[in-house]
Symmetry: C2
């Protein structure tokens, strides 16, 4: 068992190690980017929404209160590039595009949903803790 110190920097060997396992505490680890997309403001909500099944663009937009078209498109592209979202476009007119989760996406989605659900369910306590600390 080898512990990486973020301060000492990565040797040539530990770089390979990073790819093998990932270490979010290390500045250069690619997992930071993935985490950024997944935990982005709309990324969270898109993942949770898509756990319900395939959605069209407009469906997602209606379901997720407050998203702009631009941000929804952007977020979907991030998640698609990370291999979490599958985009299927039918060449008809008017345009018809379906978004769904890949198996990988379903797994992250579940963790994210767990987090979101916990916050929703414990909102009263959180709000109480906020106000009560004065």
């Amino acid at each position: 068992m080898e512990v990486l110190s973020p301060q000492t920097g990565a040797s040539a060997e530990s770089l390979a190690e990073l790819l093998r396992r990932g270490n979010v505490f290390s500045e250069k680890c690619p997992s930071r980017e993935v985490l950024k997309h997944v935990t982005s403001r709309w990324g969270v909500l898109v993942l949770v929404a898509l756990l319900d099944g395939t959605h069209r663009f407009s469906d997602l937009r209606r379901k997720i209160g407050g998203v702009s078209e631009k941000m929804l498109a952007q977020t979907l592209q991030w998640l698609e590039a990370d291999g979490f979202v599958l985009r299927v476009s039918y060449p008809v007119v008017p345009p018809h595009v379906e978004y769904s989760l890949t198996p990988l996406g379903r797994q992250v989605g579940q963790r994210v949903e767990g987090l979101a659900d916990w916050i929703e369910g414990n909102l009263p306590q959180i709000l109480a803790a906020q106000g009560g600390q004065g």
Copy 2:
């Protein structure tokens, strides 16, 4: 069972409902703010780091690769205000401050850690999915 439509807006009754349960999909729900802090770039890492036990400011800074002092302080204040982090300051010189998780904080921390761990563990597959989709 009542389903809230984000489009129709909240009635007086569903507003109270929001506070009782929380609904991330609704634009005005306070859970959005909490989620923002918890899933912020450094919020995630702070929560995971503090699951290991009490840390001093500088300890956290050394442990979390790449945080600036300003952002670490800011993030800790967000999480403290949300009732997730407990700050204990000893009036000695040089300053001595200890940060730890509240019971509430430990619970969110675990969900967040689950997510971070999953990403770390599945990094190879994610990276493969990214590159392989061309």
